[in-house]
């Protein structure tokens, strides 16, 4: 609610509609605080001439403040109440020095807080919800509880670490970035609730980094809220109508339009791989679609695909029968668009069935959480792990900065896994958007200007720069980093990412 007491115009959407300027929450809070201080002092002090009026946030006498009030015996203004619960009357002329000082301070505080929130400071204005001359408030939604909590671990801490680093360097255009974090409890409906809560709290933009982010996609798009995220949950990030959504990687596409990339045969031949098993989850069209495309690409690259399975139950680790089928098919290598625990179970079951793996890449798993599990470490020795960002083991300026910030602001000194990487990159994208949005950003300027960025690689952390003008179509190249687990260390297989090209027509 604005100080004038009127509601701002609302967006006509049943469900989670909030006013465009729901509440300039920070300003309102300051106004209220100052008002309370002033009225607590003025209560019991007779207004000059017994005039009445509205509580004026500029500090004028509270003209409606004749009330029946009980004051303690020693009041700030050094007056005794005439009666307990009776009307207390005093006079400004009888103020004690201490009381006058407090009164003066309250006036000053009130004027400072009220003017700072609304006034212009160096040309910076409160140009949008969540934006003040001094701060910008952004929201983070992630799975802090529920079934997805383990995978999202580190996202809020990494995001805040990046923001803290930016704030230490002066923020964005002189404004510090404040962060509000909400938990969607790994539920799509709660993701929408969390998004609505953050919008009601007056955030400027949102980082929706959750496997349930699609739950709030329609709502946030309707509200015109800029959204950044990982783009790994569903295909809203690559859908044209969701112009407000920006992901840190080329996102997933709908099942029928999965892109296909050429396979670089060099590392596969080097590992003497000949016959591949390709697997995906049945319940995830992006997983099963990507698996099907991988199989085609492998065949075109001259390899055999002896086993293609797109009917794996999500998250399963009971894979003995699958291992038997892979063994019967004579596979010696595996490419799978599945979670690390399923893939690890497949590797183990395959070895127990007698498969001698030549080339296996785990899509997930790189990071400290894997290294803390002795069974996982033992079972995945010399296997390859895909990495979302430049491996920290290469000690590039970007990774050094990243790890230093994690250590300083989050107390984390390990290898960043999925959550830490996603949080850091999302924060980087958010900062990029704020920087290009202009000195006095609006949500529309954030969306419009970030959409014009044609090459963003997060200071060299990403394997391929993202062109935000063309996120509804797959990138022309797919580049990825790979590491190999040797002992307790992830060893990068190359100093540059391995890139392949998009197959024309897909």
């Amino acid at each position: 609610m604005t100080p004038g007491g009127k509601d701002a115009p609302t967006v006509d959407v049943p469900g989670m509609s909030v006013p465009h300027y729901a509440s300039d929450g920070v300003a309102t809070k300051h106004v209220f605080t100052a008002f309370m201080i002033q009225t607590q002092v003025f209560f019991g002090v007779v207004e000059a001439g017994s005039s009445r009026g509205d509580p004026d946030p500029t500090g004028a006498p509270c003209r409606r403040c004749k009330r029946s009030v009980t004051f303690p015996k020693r009041s700030l203004v050094g007056m005794r109440p005439r009666s307990q619960g009776g009307r207390v009357v005093g006079s400004l002329l009888r103020l004690r020095p201490a009381g006058a000082a407090v009164l003066f301070l309250a006036l000053v505080l009130g004027m400072v807080t009220q003017t700072s929130s609304a006034g212009a400071a160096g040309g910076l204005t409160a140009s949008a919800p969540g934006v003040t001359p001094k701060t910008i408030t952004v929201g983070v939604i992630t799975e802090e509880s529920g079934s997805g909590a383990s995978g999202a671990y580190g996202i809020p801490a990494a995001f805040k670490a990046r923001v803290d680093l930016q704030n230490a360097e002066g923020g964005v255009d002189g404004r510090k970035i404040d962060v509000v974090v909400e938990d969607d409890q790994s539920q799509s409906s709660d993701n929408q609730t969390a998004a609505a809560a953050e919008v009601a709290k007056g955030v400027f933009a949102i980082n929706d980094n959750s496997a349930s982010a699609y739950g709030a996609a329609t709502y946030l798009q309707t509200q015109g809220i800029p959204v950044v995220g990982g783009g790994y949950d569903a295909f809203e990030w690559t859908t044209a109508s969701y112009t407000n959504m920006f992901s840190t990687a080329y996102g997933v596409f709908s099942g029928s339009t999965q892109p296909r990339y050429v396979v670089d045969p060099t590392p596969l031949k080097k590992a003497h791989a000949t016959n591949f098993a390709v697997l995906g989850y049945s319940i995830s069209p992006s997983s099963s679609g990507a698996a099907a495309n991988e199989a085609v690409s492998l065949k075109q690259a001259g390899f055999k695909v002896g086993y293609l399975d797109t009917s794996l139950p999500f998250g399963t680790v009971n894979v003995t029968a699958t291992a038997l089928q892979m063994k019967a098919a004579g596979v010696d290598s595996m490419v799978a668009e599945i979670d690390g625990n399923t893939e690890l179970a497949l590797i183990t079951a395959g070895e127990q069935a007698g498969i001698k793996w030549k080339y296996v890449v785990l899509a997930t798993g790189y990071g400290s959480q894997w290294l803390t599990n002795p069974t996982a470490v033992a079972d995945s020795q010399k296997l390859y792990f895909g990495v979302l960002q430049t491996p920290v083991e290469l000690h590039t300026p970007a990774t050094i900065q990243e790890q230093a910030a994690f250590k300083k602001y989050a107390g984390f000194t390990g290898v960043p896994d999925f959550g830490w990487t996603e949080g850091w990159e999302s924060a980087g994208l958010m900062i990029e958007g704020l920087q290009v949005a202009g000195k006095n950003p609006t949500r529309q300027s954030f969306i419009t200007n970030l959409r014009k960025v044609t090459s963003w690689n997060d200071n060299g952390l990403l394997s391929v720069p993202i062109n935000f003008e063309h996120t509804t179509t797959p990138g022309k190249k797919l580049c990825s980093w790979t590491t190999q687990l040797i002992g307790h260390n992830f060893v990068p297989t190359s100093t540059t990412p391995v890139c392949t090209n998009l197959v024309p027509g897909t």
Binding site: T10, V13, P14, G15, M16, S17, V18, P19, E144, S145, S147, A149, S150, G151, Y153, V181, E182, D183, S188, T193, A197, V199, A200, S212, G215, A217, Y219, D233, A234, F235, S254, S282, I283, P285, S286, L308, T310, S311, P313, G315, V317, N318, T320, A321, A323, L324, Q325, G340, N341, A345, T348, G365, Q369, T372, N373, P374, T375, A376, A378, D379
Partner: protein, 715 residues
């Protein structure tokens, strides 16, 4: 093919041990412990903590987890919960154990954290030794599982059937009263039964973790699958549970052997095997025996036989006892909710609209469980049918939205009719299990189709054109709720409602006076499904999207528990429960620290457990207490009652005005109201209690001597 049979024994062994554990618990305690999986997960997680995180050896970790923690948990929960469950209704038993199944994993998260566990060790030393049987790798973990399963089955059968201990246990389940007369302490026997049962759950958890992973969700799915074997065993046959569990595992492996791995049909069939197993066995039982009831051949027969026939023996006894309340309080409450759109706005108003839509769905529970006494756990699925029907018709075929909403209800209706017909001869527990299975099967086979999933995005639903703004939409939802509630009221007050009441009280008695039980149950099932469909459609409108994740079956069980904790027999409690569902979550999200997010499921579980104390619902209890106190005041002091009523009315009007005009201080007005109510009602309640005591004393000890003595006194 032999190789796949052996491979299938891996998962089959897990199903078998879980199923036998459930059957042993039911045979020994008379309760189907739906929190078995949660207990198994808790012990397994503790074992992982000791063995992997603290690097303890296998033996001490196993002893402390399985032999100490498991039984200790069993004893703890026996004294806290299970000893009070014996005489409660089936609905309370189901919801209490389900509440525990929700609360325990959340408590584990608070204690152990959310670390991702890629691989969990079992009881075999690492690296696990692998044997080869007919070319199939069999690990030592799997051999330990097979050994334990066989031991549990053999020991279970031998102990329960052929030993004095087993005799005591069976006698105690059959009749605690007669057992205590014979000199056995039934409490002590029950306590040790639960200690052994939870210990068995812990063993299941530790053995299962290396096979299915260490995740609470995986354990829940395991238990759901094991329930299929339990149903096949008719809740009482250990060997049948064992073999059906093994069979399901083998069937899964053979499906993988026979069907192409990259087929969508295979992808649909694999997770549906347990549910298909349930359906096949149910059909078989009904063809052979005509019906299945959990009480057949199971404990309690003697106590039931000697129980007075006037007592209510329905599945929901104690929960649905309905005392007529004045219409004024619900009317005032409804009017207050109608005023909410003037008071709250934006985010909170959105939650109010969503809560009213949930309330419409909850009315379907009020109908089928509250009125019909049937425990249906598939209302969320039926709501999903309505939601998706509305979305597809409105978005893909351009139907007017409100016509599409109506069609959502009409499409869901036949599902209710068919379910009602199929379950006519089933006992209450079977009805609950079958509807749970139906819901899960529907999720796996139907809602997983891309037509509904749309790559996880669901189907976007545009707002209806004639609705101008969220406020109007909220009133529209309230209007739909009122219309459906009036249907419920009319049904209740009609001869059909009276007939339903008769069926709920005693099916046999109802049959003797010519009431068709079949007709009543089928009718009610259909109407409840229609209401659920309408509610589901309205929910999709409220959220702006029809998403499969919003209609999950297990989520529906949570809804039922939220409703029952308030009271399942009144339409007003459905509205309160629906609003609580959304507003409490919003309150926790906005005002409380993050750590409370994990406590919400725990609080929900505690709420379900509170059903033991308040089987008719906390809100219903409060309303009745309030009615009694106010009624007493009106009798004792009509003048004071009149003053208080006037003062309350004035305060209510002032409160509404304040909430509308000075919204920013809403928290202050509500806090003042809450304090005033507690102080005022507390004072009246004390007066009421004193009055009751005084009245009781006057009855026992009259104030003056009997007139006869005076008459006999010498003149």
């Amino acid at each position: 093919m032999l190789q796949y049979v052996i491979a299938g024994l891996v998962l089959g062994g897990i199903y078998a041990i879980a199923a036998t554990g459930l059957v042993v618990t039911f045979l020994s305690a008379g309760i189907l412990n739906l929190s078995f999986a949660a207990m198994a997960y808790t012990v397994a997680r503790f074992y992982y903590y000791l063995n992997t995180q603290l690097n303890w050896g296998i033996a001490p970790s196993a002893i402390l987890s399985i032999v100490v923690l498991g039984p200790a948990l069993g004893i703890f929960f026996y004294f806290l919960l299970f000893r009070r469950l014996h005489q409660t209704s089936m609905l309370v038993k189901i919801l209490v154990t389900l509440g525990l199944s929700v609360a325990l994993p959340s408590l584990d998260t608070v204690i152990f954290g959310t670390e991702a566990i890629q691989a969990a060790p079992g009881l075999a030393p690492e690296p696990v030794h692998v044997y080869h049987l007919a070319g199939v790798p069999v690990t030592l973990d799997q051999i330990i599982i097979y050994s334990c399963v066989v031991a549990v089955v053999v020991l279970g059968v031998v102990v329960l059937r052929y030993t004095d201990v087993g005799l005591c246990v069976r006698a105690m389940v059959d009749s605690p009263a007669m057992t205590s007369i014979s000199g056995t302490n039934p409490q002590r026997v029950s306590m040790w039964v639960w200690a052994v049962s939870v210990g068995l759950a812990g063993l299941t958890g530790v053995l299962s973790a290396p096979i299915i992973g260490l995740d609470a969700g995986d354990f829940t799915l395991l238990m759901v699958a094991a329930l299929s074997a339990v149903i096949a065993a008719k809740l009482r046959s250990l060997p049948v549970a064992f073999f059906v569990g093994l069979g399901m595992g083998i069937a899964g492996a053979l499906v993988q052997y026979a069907l192409p791995p990259n087929s969508s049909f295979t992808a649909a069939v694999l997770p549906s095997i347990p549910f298909i197993t349930t359906a096949l066995f149910l059909v078989y039982f009904m063809i052979r025996g005509g019906g299945i009831d959990e009480s057949t051949g199971i404990g309690g027969t003697l106590d039931r036989a000697i129980r007075p026939h006037t007592s209510n023996q329905s599945a929901v006894a104690g929960v649905v006892g309905r005392q007529a309340l004045s219409w004024r309080a619900p009317a005032v409450g409804f009017a207050a909710v109608c005023l909410l759109p003037f008071i709250v706005h934006g985010f909170w108003l959105g939650l109010v609209a969503e809560g009213v839509c949930y309330a419409i769905i909850f009315l379907s529970y009020t109908l089928v469980t509250g009125e019909g006494g049937m425990i249906w756990l598939c209302q969320a699925t039926l709501a999903g049918v309505g939601g998706f029907t509305m979305a597809i018709l409105a978005v893909n075929h351009g139907w007017p939205v409100f016509l599409a909403v109506l069609m959502g209800g009409l499409v869901a209706l036949p599902f209710g009719l068919i379910l009602g017909f199929l379950m006519i001869r089933m006992g209450d527990l079977y009805v609950a299990l079958v509807t749970l299975t139906f819901g899960l099967l529907f999720e796996n086979l139907v809602f997983s189709r891309q037509l509904f999933q749309n790559g996880d995005l669901g189907i976007n639903v545009p707002p209806p054109h004639i609705v101008a703004g969220l406020r109007v939409f909220t009133w529209l939802c309230l209007g739909v709720f009122l219309a459906v509630a009036m249907i419920t009221v009319n049904l209740r007050n009609s001869t059909t409602g009276l007939a339903l009441g008769a069926v709920r009280s005693s099916e046999q008695g109802a049959k003797t006076i010519g009431i068709s039980v079949l007709q009543m149950k089928v009718l009610l099932g259909g109407v409840a499904a229609f209401v659920a469909g309408i509610g589901g459609a309205m929910l999709a409108l409220s959220l702006g999207v029809a998403l499969a994740g919003n209609y999950e079956t297990l989520l529906g069980v949570v809804w039922l528990t939220v409703l029952v904790t308030q009271g399942i027999r009144y339409n007003a409690t459905a509205l309160v429960a629906g609003l609580a569902q959304t507003l409490v979550a919003g309150f926790v999200l906005v005002f409380l620290p993050k750590i409370f997010a994990d406590f919400v499921p725990i609080l929900f579980g505690l709420g379900a457990i509170a059903l033991i104390r308040f089987p008719q619902g906390i809100l219903t209890f409060q309303v009745r207490l309030f009615t009694a106190v106010v009624g007493d005041l009106r009798e004792r002091s009509p003048r004071l009652f009149g003053h208080l009523r006037l003062a309350t009315l004035v305060y209510a009007v002032a409160l509404v005005v304040l909430l509308i005009t000075v919204r920013d201080l809403w928290w202050l007005w509500l806090a003042i109201t809450f304090l005033a109510y507690n102080v005022g009602f507390g004072y009246l309640y004390r007066q009421h209690q004193q009055n009751l005591k005084r009245t009781a004393n006057e009855v026992v000890m009259p104030a003056s001597p009997a007139p006869a003595f005076d008459a006999m006194a010498p003149q």
